[in-house]
Structure formats: C-alpha cells, structure tokens
Amino acid sequence: MPKDISIQSILVIGSGPIVIGQAAEFDYAGTQACAALKEEGYKVILVNNNPATIMSDKAFADKVYFEPMTADSLEKIIKKERPDGLLATLGGQTGLNLAFKLSESGVLERYGVKLLGSSIESIKKGEDREAFRKLMKELNEPVPESIIVHEVEEAIQFARDIGFPIIVRPAYTLGGTGGGIAGDFGELASLVQGGLKESAISQCLVEKSIAGFKEIEYEVMRDSQNTCITICNMENIDPVGVHTGDSIVVAPSQTLTDDEYQMLRTASIKIISELGIIGGCNIQFALDPHSRNYYLIEVNPRVSRSSALASKATGYPIARMAAKLAVGYNLSEIINPVTGDTFASFEPALDYVIVKFPKWPFDKFPSADRKLGTQMKATGEVMGIDRNLERALLKAIHSLEVNGMDLISPVLSAKSADALEELLVKQTDERFFTVIELLRRNYTLEALHSITQIDYFYLNILNEMVKLEKQISALTLDEATKEELQFFKEKGFSDKFLALAWKVTEKAVREKRKEAGILPAYKMVDTCAAEFEAQSNYYYSSYFGENEQVKSDKRKVLIIGSGPIRIGQGIEFDYCSVQGVFALKDEGVETIMINNNPETVSTDYTTADRLYFEPLILEDILNVIEAEGISEVIVQLGGQTALNLASELEDYGVTLLGTDSKTIDALEDRKLFYQLLDDLNIPRIKGDVVYSEAELKEAAEKIGFPILVRPSYVIGGRGMEHISSSTELERYLMKGNVPYPILIDQFVHAVEAELDLAADGNYICAPAIMEHIEKTGVHSGDSMSVLPPQNLSENVQNKMLAYAKAIVQKLHYKGLMNIQYIVNGEEVFILEINPRASRTVPIISKVTGVQLVEVATKILLGKYSLSKDEIPAAAKLPFVCVKFPVFSNYALKGLDSKVGPEMKSTGEGVSLAPNYEEAVRKSFHAGLSGVKGKCVVIANSPITEELTHYINQAKALPVFLTQDNMDWNAQETFALYNPGMSESDKKMREMGTKNRILTFSEKETLIALLKSMTAGEWDVKSIEDWQGIKNNEGEKEVGVI
C-alpha cells in the first residue's frame, strides 16, 4: 500500500528527559522516525523537552516544542498545530502513555488526529495486563500465572492453586526492592508482608516464578497487510530473574536449536498479528532449559531499547521502517537501505556475534543497592561485534571504561573465595566478573551453574578464556610465537592486557604484533551474511580473515564518540558528535565515526560516511586510524572519554584538531590552571593540588573550611566531597583510599554560572550565559539553571566574557570550551574550564539558534574563523529558558537524593516561557501532575520570613518538621524539603522519592518552585515561533550582536 496522502502533518512524541530504562535509544528511534517522515514529505511537529536529543534539532523536525510531556500540554499543542496524524510508538513508554491518555480523553477525536501505526486497541491489548492475559489464553500462548494482592491471605490462596516457587514484586518501590522468590508458605507470607509495607500503594504482584529459564527476545515487525518478519532474536546470558536491561545479551541466540528458535519465532508472529501491531514490537520469552515449555514474559508494542540494539546488531533500521509502515507502506514495498537491493521484508542473517553489556552507575555510587532483579538499574550499554563470542565479549568489556584489565577485576581479585561466592549469590552487577574470578580459582562449572543458572555454553567459553589467560601469563613477549599472539588477539585480549601480563609497554606489544603482520581485518555489517552485495559503510574489526574495508584518499576526519551513557556523560555528547559529523560533511570532508554505544544516533550507519563499531580504547582507535589513513582526529566532542585519549593518541603522532594535550593539561592540571589564571589576573578561588595526607591537612589549614576535595580528570564530580570542618576532614581521611593527587578548593557559598563558547584562537562566539538556581556546592548537572541570567549584572556578565576571551587568546584556543564561574556579588571567579563540548552546548544551540558545534567544527577544520566576538544580547531574548535535572533515584535504592558536588541526575529537560516563574512552573509540571496534596513539608530548616512569604504566595499548606516531630503524610504532600544530613533525613527523602513527591535538599529549588506556583495558565510555543518573534522584532541574528 502506498503512503497515506490523507495526512500532511504529523505530531511525533519523543520520550523526554533521560531516566533509567528510557535513554538514548529513543533519541535514535525518534531521529530515524522524523527523518523518515520528512523524507516522505510530511510536516513533522515534535514534542520533546529533552534538549540533548538529536531529534529535537532543526534538521529533523519542522516545529519543535520543548514543552512538558503531559497530556494537557500535548492537548494545547494539538489545538495549536492541528496535526493530521500522531506517531507515538517511537517515544518509549512516555510516548505510548501520552497517546493512550489523549485517546481516552477524546482529544484525538475532538481535533481529528489520526493515530498512526498501531491502534489504541492494539496498544491496550499489549499494555493492559488483564487484556493481554486474556488474549494469550485465547491464543493458547502460556503466560506465567499471577495476581495482584493487597493482603497476605490472597497470596497464600494463590500459592495453594499454583504451587511454588513464587515471585513477589511489590509495586512502587525503589529499585524493585522488597521482592523476592518464595519457596514455601512461610517465606511467601513474610515476603508479601514486607512487600506490602515497602510498596507506596500497598500492592504486590505475585507470580509463578520462572527464574532460571532462558530469557529470549524477538524483535518483530508487522505491516498493515500482516506481513511479519523478525529482525533478530537475542538471548540473555543472565537467565530470567535479571531485567533484560541489566543482562548481558547476545545476538543471535546461541543455545537454541532451530526447532526452538522457530517455535518462538512462530509464537512471536502469531502474537504480533493478533495484537494488530503496525511497526516494531519486542516480545520476551522464558524458555525452559530442559524442555520445549515456554512462557511469554512481556510484549512491548513499540520500539524499545532492544529494538535499538537489534538495529545496530543487524544493520536493519527498525525505527525508520516502523515510521514508514505507520504512514501506510508495506514491508515488501520498501528497499532495505543497507543492501540497497533487498527489500525491507528480508529477514537479516548475521555472520558475527553481538554482545551487549550494561553500564551501571555503581562505580559512582558504591553505596547504592547493587542487587539486580526486576528493576533496571543500568544507565547505558555497550555493544561488541566480532566473529567469535570471546572477542565480542571482550570488546564490550573494553568499551565499559571500568578499571579492569580485560577479564580481571582488581576489586574482586582481592576478595576471598567465600566472599566471592556470597557476592555471586547476591546477584549484583559484579556477577559476571565474579564468575570469572571463581573460574580462575578452579570452581567447577557445575558449582557456578547451580548458583547462577547461566548456561553451560557460556560458562564453558568463559572457562576457556580463563585458561587462555593462564596460558598468556606463562609466556613473555619474546617467547610468544606469532601463532600464539595471533590466537590471543583473535580471542580478544587487548594489547594493553598482554602488556600488563608480560610487564612490557603497550607500545612494545603493538609493535611486535604489527611486525608479525597481525592486523585487524574490517568486516562489513550487511544484514545478509554476504549473500548479496551491500552498500554498507558499517564495519567491525576482527583479528582474522580478509579485510573488506576500502579506504579512500579523500581528506578525512575521525570523530571519537562518547561511549556508553552514564551519569555525568550522557546523550548530549552524542548530540555534539553527530553535529560535528554533519558540519564535516557539510564541508565535504569524509567523516569516520568510532563509537560503541548501540543506543545512539552516532552509531546509526547513515550518520557518518563510515562507522566503526569498536571499543574506545587506544588499540582499536589507532587500528582504525591506520587502516583508514586518518591524519586528523577530533576529541572535543565525545566528552571526557575522547578527551582522556588525547595525549596517548599524540604519542603515536596523531594530529588532534583543536584541543591538544598541552592545552588540556593547561586547563585540567590544577597547578598549571591556577598559574594561567594568575598570569591573566583572573580571580580564582583558593585551591591547590595535594599529594599526601600531610599536604592535604596543610592546604586545608591555609585555605580555610569549608573546602571541596576531588580527584583530577573525572566526569560528573565523581568522588567529590564537601568538607566543612577539621572533624569532617578527619572522617574523610579515616575512610582511606584517598586517590592522591587530589584537588582541594576553597568552598565559596555563592551563585554559580556558566557559559559555552566556540573560539577561533582569537575571537569567541558565546551565545548565552546560564545562571544556576542553586548555589555552589551542587554539581552543575544537578542544578536548575536559567538563561538568560536573572540576577547577574551587566558588569558581571561582561567580566565573565572578558575572562573567557583572555583565556582563549592566551592559549590560542580553538573549538568548544565550557567555563564555570562563581559569582559573589560583583565578584567573578573562574571555577573550572572544560576544553570540550559540554552538557549545556545542545541547550544553548537550540534555544539561541547558534549552532555552536557547527561553528567550532568548521573552525577546527581551518575553513572558518570569526570576524569578531559574537556575544549575547541576552536581555533581548523574548523568552526565559529553564534547564531542570531529572533523577532516576526511584531505580537506585540506597542513593540519597540530596544533591551535592557528585552528579546524580540521569537526564535533563528545558522549559521556555515569557517569564522566569512560568518557565519554572513548566519544569515542575510533569512532577506535579497527578499530585493532589496541598502540603509542602519543610524539615530541618528555620522558618524564615522569606519562606513564609513564598509559601503564602503559593497558597500551600506548610508543615514544618523538627527532629522531635517527623510525622508527615505523603499523600497530602506535593513537595518535600529536607537539607538534613542524618540517616533519618535520608530516609525521609527516600520516602519522598518513593511516593513520587518533588523532593529537594536545596532551599533555592524550593523557593523557585513556590515562586512558580503563582504563574497562571501557561501557553505552548514552538522554538521556531519563539525565534520568529525575535526575528520580527528586527534582530538580524539570534542571540548575537
């Protein structure tokens, strides 16, 4: 069927700020969808208040609304834009829920908006637990028996009918806590009792346990003619019991016979057909490892994290195709863009193995509960591709950027066997490396299997890898024969690991390897196992076989991506990398992208001219550089990951465009940095670098408390601590493990502000200054901020710009730079400089319309320079933009929501409004919708006149709590403020988080909220409309004078 010509404009719902379980994969899906719709000539109207996304860039949508992701907000947009169609299946659960609400409330009907793709009935059947179970019963597809209980007795009755084991999952807890598997009535009663208490809504799901079954997923597509294809299947190495987002996953399945593979494929197709899904769908099965019995675990009637993984694993662009199916096309009408030859209805065949490995935030938050279960805890993921499982696995591990040496985790190596066994039983994120460590200590496969239920197939392979490790350590670099070296490389051990094992430099291994002619071959991901000739530009390396990559002799630049999404380094760096690619392409330069994150747009093969899906370690990057004959590399765009590689790359003679390691050192090495500021007469806060405890104490004495201490060269304020007295310093030292050298800074309680600029060595382009709402001491990623600044005088802003310019000129700095300031009255100090793209670059680019990355990239190429300073006329902006952090604390039990110098938020959103109050109000809108309470609970804080004033103004009911009286009712509360440090304060905040109440630990955030409550009814406006206002007022360029 050809495309739907009854519609001209389509509203696309994005997935909003990034939270655990809903991350960059929806930017990838959304970007593909928007591109596909635009390609078909539709007008695309996008709603997504996540500014770090690529989909919300001008190039992908005609109109972009950075507005709250709520039904009432969407209704306003629909009323204004009157779109003909709505596409909601590419915006994650957020998109699906919103579409559902808009349909239920009659908004779609009222405004004549056609829901594209799957119908509401289909979505309902997939999402509504009861409707789904009923349908599966009709289809004779088994689902595990389960019920929702509010009383222990109900669970007992259920167990009598069903038998044990039974799994208990309390609803609305933090990080899926309180649940567990019960083997008898006693255990069940106590689990349910505990679970009901833990649950914010006193509710548990009680289900027949299928833990230990193989967890298998299928990605299926269906068109309106009922053509169904499976894009790929995946097998979780971790059997049922660990959330698939927290599981190590391989594609395709490795341990299923064809009979089993096809049985589940047939079931998938039957289910997707019955549900009537149009587009992509994810189906999860639990397969008994000892029979053909299986259960259906879940159906996601939309594209998902797994579909992003499946797209990258196969090369098949699921979201892009799903968008085309939604507007009426059939699979048999669309050409598969990878082969350029086969139809989209061709099922991909893989001739390599994929391993996905989750990236957890526990390296940052060791105190959080690390147990894995039904609540996903990973913030991101990486993918490894190779011809064998061993190297695919090691590639994924190399991509994690953790402090390990291939399969060795130093932390675990130091533990006793008993401690390791205990850890294994606990099923934490360290499970995989624990298994390996126990194999190293000659635990039997049987023992490990009985604890983990991991299939022997995988255990065998891990065991072989451990044997290889031993074989390696028995050799030396000189002894290793060419054949041995070739074998170790083929199986994935890195040059760095071999160097460590052989006590030589990585360079020595690399040289010997190259002399022996052991070079990686690059193989193509072509969706068809080489059956047909493909136009693919998507490669992975393998230390075996024939090289397929043909290099061009054009000028080419490598962009190093930012790896997995983690707290402190998120999707914003993917945005910057992709913008960099676009700018290079624009200049006719061939772009090469190297990255390892399957969720992102940067690893979409259509983004760069050539994509290398490889770990971001020196060995693999150099290999690509050598194979492609690349002479120029950009490290500014991929966050700290890329930047950290700068000096090593330079050691191998690679030219870095813009930032060289000398500049990085000048700005990141504290001693050099302070020297630079002092030379330029730029005020800075007192600070020092210390190398020992004695020096630390001495410096603290000199600087005076409070102080901030932190390791150098880290992201997201990892390990940063605020110390306010000598007693606290003693306590800090008692904890041990101080990673000297560390930075020690005076802590000034004042206003924080920042700016991003692009420089050409002389002039700067700095489109906006952002003022933080919270005071210093809160990580910039966790603070709310506002643009243009509301409280900074012209004098202060001029100083900020002047200092920035002085630094740029002194260093002849080229490219992007982010500068953080402390403003105390009219005094301006420089706090920190990041010689790279930053979290705020996408926000500034989007709201001001100045494409900072593009400007910077063209400068780096030497094709462009600024003719004058381009600095903001901030006051002229017709709107106020507020950036707000979004936290995923609900998923991470044990993580205190109190903000501080260590970043905790996973995502961010922006709101635009005519004034500050309204912009803040919009920022809190989603958090407040559905909350009925009128109370604002204030604990551990003096009742000031200021506070009373704002509370009265907001017409809120204040509940002031002191240590003697901590009683409060979550149901009646809309906001909780508690800055306290004690365990009970932490508990209280946890209670707030669990009940989905706005919970603050900084007074400024609370006041911002209270102030915003006076804002009345607000309106929606697209960024294009906002910028139009500006242009109509006679401004020639946005945000530029």
Partner: protein, 359 residues
C-alpha cells in the same frame, strides 16, 4: 592439523581439521547456508547430497546433535566448512557434539575458515566445484561426476507411517523427514515410495493425494521418469516441494535453469499472489523453474521470491496441483509456509467431494 579448501576458481583457504584428517581429498559442489540455526537439519537434508556446505554463521555446533532433529537417517553433505565448531555443546537434548557426529560418518569438518570470504567468492563466481584437502596445492579444472544423485538418497523400498484417514503417497526423491511429519500432524497416513515408482504402482496404493518431495541435483537428470510422473499428477491432487515442484513443471513441458549460487537459508521473503501476503521461507535450491517456460504448461505462478523475482511456486489452472520451490515443512527455517499443507488437505477434500459428487 592444517587443512585446505581449494575452489575451482583457484582460490585457496587454510584452516584446521576439526575432525580427523580425511584419508583422501573430498570433492563436491560448494554452496552456503545463511541460516543462524539448523545445522543438524541441513547436514541430514538429502538435498545437500555430495555438496560441500559452508555455514555463514560463525559458531556452529553450540547445541550439539540430538535425536529429534534429523531430516534423514544420515548426513548427506560431502564436507563441512565453518569458522568455529563448538566442542562443548550445551543443550538438554544434545547426544553428541558436531565433531563426534561428523567423525562417526566420516565427513570432514574444516574449521577456522574465513567463511565470509568464501561466500563472497561463491556470490561473485557462482557455486562451483571445490576440494577439501590436506595438501596446499590449489585446484582448478575440477570436474564433478555428472551422476544422478536422487537414486543415492531415495529409499529403495516403500515405507508406511501413521494411520490417519487421508492417504498420501510421498514420492521420495530424497525427502526430508519433516515433510512426512507435516502430513502426520494433519492425521494422514503416509506411504513413502521410491522415486521411480510407476504410475500403476502408485495407483494400486489408492492414495488421496501425492507429494513430490524435495531432493538433490538437477531435475533434468530425472527426465526418464517425467511421463510416469505426469500421469500421477493428472490423476491425484498433488503437492510438489522443491525438486518435486521443478519436476512437476518439467512434466508439463516447462523448463528449469540453474541459479548462479542458489538460495539457501531461512530468510527469503516470498509473495503469495493469491493471498496477497508476504512471508519468510526456508530455502535450499540451485535450480528454478524458468518463468517464460510455463506459459503453455497449464501452470500459473502463485509464489514469487521478492528478492530476485524468481518463481517460488505454481498452481495448475485446472488440475489440483500446487507446487512450491521453498520448504513449507521448514526444519530448518521459518514455518510461515506451513499453511500450504493445510491447503493441500483442503484441495484433497474438495477433490474427494467432487469425485463423490460425480460418482
């Protein structure tokens, strides 16, 4: 132990014998299979008789060899080429490893091969004779014997299966067990007969319908049986599968031709023109029915391969004959075409009713 694959094009690949080094060189036509599972079914599918099979999926043997998934009593391939052959299979049904199984039947398994590179050679130069050898000396000018492969794989005797009410005769050109299974699942009684069973002999069996099975080689090698076959097809509702489909077309005057490198795998989309649907198919064939040749055969194209538009199945305009080039019995591969057996059953029932009405 090092082993070599020599292609007739002059290209050679070095690998490791994963089974014992073969005593003599193995020659055969080299073909590749792109399915990611199903190696056991492929090895035991008689249609692969004497071919050297390259598995494009790099990890083969992961789930071992079991008692349930044989498509015939023994493996038929001449040799097997893989990147990795698993020595530690893991599956509750696994009875032996891939190596053990092939060793038992004296079929060489050559591992650590760049299978992707080999596939690209086959893709560009067509399937060709190849040699598996322990000698490094490359080969060209290999000539494979032009023998009739069907007689090597067809059963020599009649065999009966099941006790259902509908009696189907399967003409065994090298039939996969799954064809019989698909019929038994539909409550049929199945009599499998040797490929050269005459029309009169079949008539004596008084079947309700006849299935012409899959089988190896060039359909034109079986020219001699076509007249008898035609008589069978004119009298009974018939389903032709793969070679059976090609033979039906030949019997009615159609023609077949060889594809450059055939279709083998589990992912080719097929359009059913009658139902207006598209589905995935299991494929294994080197020859196709020439589209132009069927104009005067009474056949009409019903199924088309969406990749190269080749004929994937026919319906006779008058007679109850339904043929498919792909494998509706799956094993390996998707079972999307399973409905073809249902249609066959309906066709038989309609035919019975019709005969009944005339009687």
């Amino acid at each position: 132990m090092e082993g070599y694959l020599h292609l007739n094009s002059g290209h050679s690949y070095k690998g490791q014998w994963l089974t014992d080094k073969p005593e003599k060189d193995i020659e055969g036509e080299i073909v590749f299979f792109t399915g990611m599972t199903g190696y056991q079914e492929v090895l035991t599918d008689p249609s692969y008789k004497d071919q050297i099979i390259v598995f494009t999926y790099p990890l083969i043997g992961n789930y071992g060899i079991n008692e349930n998934d044989f498509e015939s009593k023994k493996p038929h391939v001449a040799g097997v080429i893989v990147y990795e052959g698993s020595r530690n299979p893991s599956h509750y049904k696994s009875a032996s490893s891939l190596q053990e199984y092939l060793q038992k039947w004296n079929i060489p398994l050559l591992g650590h091969m760049d299978t992707r590179s080999i596939v690209k050679k086959i893709r560009s130069e067509g399937s060709m004779p190849a040699k598996m050898s322990s000698s490094e000396t490359s080969a060209n000018g290999l000539l494979l014997p032009k023998d009739e492969k069907v007689c090597k794989v067809s059963s020599q005797t009649m065999e009966c299966f099941g006790e259902g009410g509908i009696h189907i005769v399967v003409m065994d050109f090298g039939a996969k067990k799954s064809i019989v299974d698909s019929l038994l699942k539909r409550a049929c009684k199945v009599t499998s007969v040797p490929f050269n069973t005459s029309f009169e002999q079949i008539k004596k069996l008084n079947p309700d319908g006849v299935v012409l099975s899959n089988g190896p080689g060039d359909p034109k090698e079986l020219k001699s049986i076509l007249p008898e076959l035609k008589k069978v097809l004119e009298l009974y509702p018939a389903l032709g599968i793969c070679l059976g489909h090609q033979l039906a077309a030949l019997a009615f005057g159609g023609n077949t031709k060889k594809l450059s490198f055939g279709h083998r795998g589990a992912n080719h989309p097929i359009a059913d023109m009658k139902k207006g649907t598209v589905f995935m198919s299991s494929q294994n064939h080197s020859y196709v029915v020439d589209e132009e040749s069927i104009l005067d055969t009474g056949f009409k194209t019903r199924y088309v391969n969406l990749h190269d538009q080749s004929i994937e199945g026919l319906m006779h305009k008058v007679l109850p004959i339904h043929t498919v080039q792909f494998h509706p019995e799956a094993h390996p591969g998707p079972a999307d075409g399973d409905y073809i057996f249902d249609e066959f059953m309906n066709m038989i029932q309609e035919e019975n009713r019709r005969v009944f009405a005339y009687a």
